[in-house]
């Protein structure tokens, strides 16, 4: 979630009223879908896209891991953590199941 000091959507507090907090990068997958065609040609497909509720509360969209990192029985309810990926092979950040790695 990008830090912003424009203002709080809930109370309207802004600038010095706001603190920047680093989020843990963990959460729970609500739903996931397979994207086979993306309007942006720079986004590699197939891509598994998830709606994830972060531990701190916000709901975000993010790429979910593929292959050996993917859960065998669906993503809904799976606890995940965000892992940066600088390889350039896919999205720069991917959510991986907690059971698949450290940093839970």
């Amino acid at each position: 979630m990008p830090a912003q000091d424009f203002g709080c959507e809930q109370c309207g507090g802004h600038d010095a009223d706001l603190d920047i907090r680093e989020l843990a990068g963990t959460g729970t997958v609500l739903e996931a879908v397979l994207i086979t065609r993306h309007p942006n040609p720079q986004v590699a497909t197939p891509l598994t896209l998830g709606r994830i509720q972060l531990t701190e509360g916000p709901v975000v969209y993010g790429a979910l891991s593929h292959g050996d990192d993917a859960p065998s029985s669906g993503w809904s309810g799976v606890h995940v953590f965000a892992r940066d990926d600088d390889s350039g092979a896919g999205p720069s950040q991917v959510f991986v199941p907690v059971s698949r790695g450290a940093n839970a």
Partner: protein, 387 residues
């Protein structure tokens, strides 16, 4: 002081409607598209352009000041012209403004129209300077595909149930000469079509296209003074608009629809069971199932079963998307709002031909738009209003 609503003002009517067919991108100028719709609406109303006192034109991809380059070719009259942009709901907003203006007495006759060509739209949200939280991964079909997963898991409905929405709407579109898609599709065809995201296949998503629509809004005084056929005038009973609040994990489109529709029906002093015809924002098949529940047209989780039983067919308990909806009629964006009004007016006049919902007395139009906004209007057949 209590908030004023449309019913607190003099009655206001739709007296004329017109469309240019929705279609794939072509070389036609937006001027041709728009003038076709406006001239058709003027002819339908039996009024002349100099009698129109103001114009609101919805568009999303034609840049600044779209109205005058188009409307001047009807003969310049110097009337106030305003462009309206509210994403998918642009001409629905144009309609609301025209209705409010006539209801309040600032004009006797006003044009609300929509026109768009295929092009790249820029969302202001992408220009905030903040990195988008989704890092550019999502697009509309992907977000609605996720909503579909949530709905299917919670309702027991299946991918086949989703596809039935598209089957119904393609069937309706096949009977609509203004629709972009006029081909009936079987359930198997819809399911086997190109996958886009999750359970959504291409035929369950609205097409990209161009088009135009226009409605003439008038007062009772204008109807009498100009000799407009009162038996073809459809009263606008309510106009409601809202924007997104914070809903936690809930679908913001569904929650916003719930609140805005309840507001519109309360203004009209009607319950959902009174509605005979609905044109809603079915850009993706899942939306129709979500919104008919959110509007109270059926209880939660029951939309798929009732759709399969034919309740939402033309001839069913309430005809949903009789035009073919955004899926088959099309969604050229700017024109979609007043296009929905045009279809609803035809239904309420009894002029919808093969698509006619029998005994249609009350119609409801609904659109949501990125931003997020929601507009709902309630209309009454001639003789069924409160005038």
């Amino acid at each position: 002081m209590p908030r004023l609503v449309l019913k607190d003002f003099r009655p206001v009517y739709v007296v004329g409607v017109g469309l240019h067919p929705y279609q794939r991108s072509s070389d036609l100028s937006f001027v041709t598209l728009g003038l076709t719709a406006v001239r058709s609406a003027l002819l339908d109303a039996g009024v002349d352009w100099p009698q129109v006192e103001s114009a609101y034109v919805g568009t999303t991809r034609l840049g600044m000041a779209v109205a005058r380059p188009m409307l001047r070719h009807l003969g310049v009259t110097g009337i106030p012209m305003t462009q309206v942009e509210n994403a998918s709901a642009s001409s629905a907003s144009a309609f609301r403004l025209a209705v409010q203006e006539v209801a309040a007495g600032f004009a006797e006759l006003s044009l609300a129209a929509g026109v768009d060509k295929v092009g790249t739209g820029v969302r202001a949200e992408s220009l905030t300077g903040l990195e988008p939280p989704d890092r550019g991964l999502t697009f509309p079909a992907s977000r609605y595909a996720l909503l579909a997963e949530e709905y299917l898991a919670g309702s027991g409905a299946t991918a086949r149930d989703l596809a039935r929405v598209a089957v119904k709407n393609h069937r309706n579109g096949s009977m609509n000469p203004f629709a972009q898609r006029q081909k009936e599709r079987t359930l198997d065809e819809v399911l086997a079509d190109e996958p886009i995201a999750g359970s959504l296949t291409r035929l369950q998503c609205c097409p990209v296209g161009e088009g135009a629509s226009a409605v003439i809004v008038g007062s009772g005084e204008a109807i009498d003074r100009l000799g407009i056929a009162r038996e073809r005038c459809v009263q606008v009973l309510a106009s409601a608009q809202g924007s997104e609040r914070l809903y936690g994990t809930k679908s913001f489109d569904a929650e916003l629809t719930r609140v805005t529709t309840a507001d519109a029906l309360a203004q009209a002093r009607l319950t959902p069971s009174a509605v005979d015809v609905v044109e809603l924002h079915d850009a993706f098949s899942i939306e129709e199932l979500q919104y008919v529940e959110a509007m109270g047209l059926c209880p939660p989780t029951e939309a798929a079963g009732r759709l399969a039983d034919g309740e939402f067919d033309i001839g069913g308990r309430v005809a949903v998307s009789p035009s073919g909806g955004l899926i088959a009629m099309g969604h050229p964006i700017g024109p979609t709002g007043t296009g929905q009004v045009a279809e609803t007016v035809r239904q309420l006049r009894g002029e919808a031909g093969l698509r006619q919902q029998p005994n249609a007395r009350i119609g409801l139009t609904h659109l949501v738009g990125v931003g997020a906004v929601c507009l709902v209007h309630v209309l009454a057949a001639p003789g069924s209003g409160d005038d």
